[in-house]
Amino acid sequence: MGCCCNDKASDLSLLEPVLEHYKGINGSLIAILQQAQEIYGYLPVDVIYHIAEETGVAPAKVMGVATFYTQFRLKPVGKYLIMLCQGTACHVNGSELIAAAIKDELGIVDGETTDDGLFSLKHVACLGCCSLSPVMMINGETYGSLTPDKTKTILRELREKAGAES
């Protein structure tokens, strides 16, 4: 069983409007999970179970969907989610070097989160900014034409920003 990383109960009431909106609409599971992830930042196990109960989709099916699509996370992610593009153009233009730079700077590889909970790295399919390759997207913002140095600078700035905020 690949779930359950914290036993903290989630506030299921946050999900009510979503469940209400999709009530009776067949085939809405993915949309519900997407919105649940928007709310909670990831898909906590009790939320998944609640969705199963409310939609009448068997828990095994919900779990099957939640583990099929790369967008869904069963674990919380860091404050900054680095999505490193794995498209062909980025590959040809050195995305592996960027992955190495991220590892060098943060010590994390694909799928991992830094101990301080600040950064998570996820390799993603082509972001479609091929002419800016290599590219990464952090919390919705795209960073293009990366070099290892530029990448490290960006990460350091984010870390400083987070430090200043807290």
Partner: protein
């Protein structure tokens, strides 16, 4: 004057948002010329982003490129003083402008020109005229399909199946309830044509889909958009709302008996959902695992009702065809392939971006004439078409014409339009591995051949690039390729061997060099290369040593440095920073 900022995803990524904000700020504070700042989407010249166009009425008077927020003041001054020479330094060169001039734009006809958030701008350029035509001139469903048939339009998603044939099949399937679906799950790594269309001209898609829905008799249309395209979703949502408000969508469209609603379904990250039956499963809220065909979606698709699925670019051509006639479309292209095709030209190319050309141009024309050739004037090595389902075409076949049959004969495919150019420094075995890595990760896991077969192929390729290849590996790969082509359940699996097969076909010596000589001729496979410093070129600036993360470089300033091969982690930092070209990779 109208100041138009190019705000496609790529423009925004390059900083268009900041430029726009700065311009807004300046023009909001004082605007003596009464100019407006607005947006458009990607014009396709991604290599020049951010782009700002200056219009006088409908006439484009200046195209400014590589604009930074620091240039905003200059633009403001130029516009308000009506002295455009102030922006000469950021104006596009004639050479770069030729990038667009050599294209024929149908699917992209409004992209980069209109504001995608404005239905009026779409209508002003003839938008929704085709829809009006079919609904008000008494065109029957068959008339529409026949017109499409006449155009020779084939599916632009990759497989190249006749659009009219599919529509006819869906139309003639029994059942009241039918669905029209747009596949905008553009997942090929290296392709962004569909995103550009939705971001740049969402109404074209809507209109094309409405015509299709009319033709097959669907009352509901769904656009399945990749999760990674948030901007496209926002613009399409806005367009659907506007179109509904104007009566182009909904009940009794334009007063006719035709009713159709449209909604967006966001994907959740699974390349396989580009396969139509997997897409249907995903639409139904399930794991995106392909269904067996037959039955085809035209007979039994979404909720097991007759459904038609085409991709974005296919629909983007439809309104034009109806408005201009199928013959006009068929007049372009080759005997085998009609009309135009959009390509996302990327990789080691000077001018990368979106290009739309008539079928029948050669690869060389696209890469050299439009794309300007290889970056840094290196040697062209190969062009990859069709992404993980396609293959690499070598220099010897650069004069191949772009047409489904001719490209298919090379072992690659037309594909959805990804065109990634590679130079001499790209290892073709590494490329094959890259694609297999992609397919293996994206395999849904349902059928044996794809689930385990692609994994095993990836492992063999991994060994080869690591210098652990063995004699017989190529034959083993070929055997797996053939078995997977025959045994895999869906298109993703059946075409997964293509990148490997074309690599074997055209770059076998390079593969053999990895296996027998443990050598990477392109100098890219980390385990097979060494870094050293050319003493005759090194000026002893010490930059490389400072940037070396492994402290593998040492030396006295102003005399040649040395790399300790035992410490070197082959990250390539030294090569990147060296301004003398003194780093040798072998």
């Amino acid at each position: 004057m109208k100041i138009v900022v190019g705000e496609g995803s790529c423009g925004l990524a390059a900083g268009a948002g900041k430029v726009h904000a700065k311009l807004d700020e300046l023009f909001a504070a004082a605007n003596p010329s009464g100019s407006v700042v607005t947006i458009t989407s990607c014009i396709g010249m991604c290599f020049l982003e951010p782009i700002v166009d200056l219009y006088d009425g409908d006439a484009l008077v200046r195209r400014l490129v590589h604009v930074t927020d620091a240039d905003a003041q200059k633009i403001y001054d130029a516009v308000n003083s009506n002295d455009l020479s102030l922006v000469d330094d950021i104006t596009i060169t004639a050479e770069d402008a030729s990038f667009l001039e050599q294209q024929t734009r149908i699917a992209l006809r409004n992209c980069g020109i209109i504001n995608p958030m404005s239905i009026d701008e779409y209508i002003a350029r003839g938008g929704y005229e085709a829809l009006k035509k079919i609904l008000t001139t008494g065109m029957t469903q068959d008339d529409v399909i026949n017109e499409i048939d006449k155009s020779g339009l084939k599916g632009r998603g990759g497989a190249g199946f006749s659009t009219a044939f599919k529509w006819r099949a869906a139309k003639s399937s029994e059942g009241e309830e039918k669905y029209l679906i747009c596949n905008a799950d553009e997942g090929d790594p290296g392709a962004f044509m569909d995103r550009a269309v939705i971001e740049g001209d969402p109404h074209t898609l809507i209109e094309g889909m409405l015509i299709g829905a009319y033709a097959i008799g669907a009352k509901e249309a769904i656009v399945y958009v990749r999760a990674e395209y948030p901007l496209a979703i926002v613009r399409l949502e806005n367009a659907i709302k506007d179109a509904t408000d104007r009566g182009f969508l909904g009940d009794n469209i334009l007063g006719s008996n035709f009713s159709c609603k449209m909604r967006i379904k966001a994907g959740a990250g699974a390349f396989v959902c580009g396969e139509e039956t997997a897409l249907i499963e995903s639409l139904e809220g399930k794991r995106g695992m392909p269904r067996l065909k037959p039955p085809f979606p035209a007979q039994s698709g979404f909720w097991f009702k007759p459904s038609n699925i085409n991709n974005v670019e296919t629909y983007a051509n439809v309104a034009w065809i109806i408005a201009n006639g199928g013959d006009a479309f068929a007049a372009m292209g080759t005997a085998e392939s009609k009309g135009t095709k959009v390509f996302a030209l990327t990789g080691k190319i000077k001018r990368g971006g979106l290009v739309e050309i008539p079928m029948g141009k050669t690869l060389r024309e696209v890469i050299y004439d439009i794309g300007g050739g290889i970056r840094n004037d290196k040697e062209f090595k190969a062009v990859q078409l069709g992404g993980p389902s396609g293959g690499c075409i070598p220099a010897s076949l650069l004069d191949t014409v772009i047409d489904y049959k001719a490209l298919g004969a090379t072992g690659a495919i037309m594909g959805s339009g990804g065109m990634v150019v590679m130079d001499e420094t790209t290892c073709m075995v590494g490329m094959a591995k890259f694609f297999l890595d992609f397919t293996a990760k994206e395999s849904c896991g349902k059928c044996v051949h794809c689930r385990i077969g692609t994994k095993r192929m990836l492992e063999i390729l991994g060994r080869i690039v690591d210098g652990e290849g063995e004699e017989g590996d190529i034959e083993k790969l070929e055997e797996l390729c053939n078995a997977i082509k025959d045994g895999a359940l869906c298109g993703l699996g059946q075409t997964a061997p293509n990148p490997v097969l074309t690599t074997i076909r055209y770059f076998r010596p390079e593969m053999e060099a990895h296996i027998s000589e443990k050598r990477c001729p392109a100098g890219e496979c980390v385990k097979l290369i060494t870094y050293s410093i050319d003493e005759s070129k090194c000026i002893g600036c010490s930059l490389c040593a400072k940037k070396c993360p492994a402290n593998a470089i040492s030396g006295e300033v102003k005399s040649p440095f040395k790399i300790d091969a035992d410490k070197c982690i082959k990250c390539g930092n030294c090569k990147t920073v060296c301004r003398q070209g003194a780093i040798i990779v072998k």
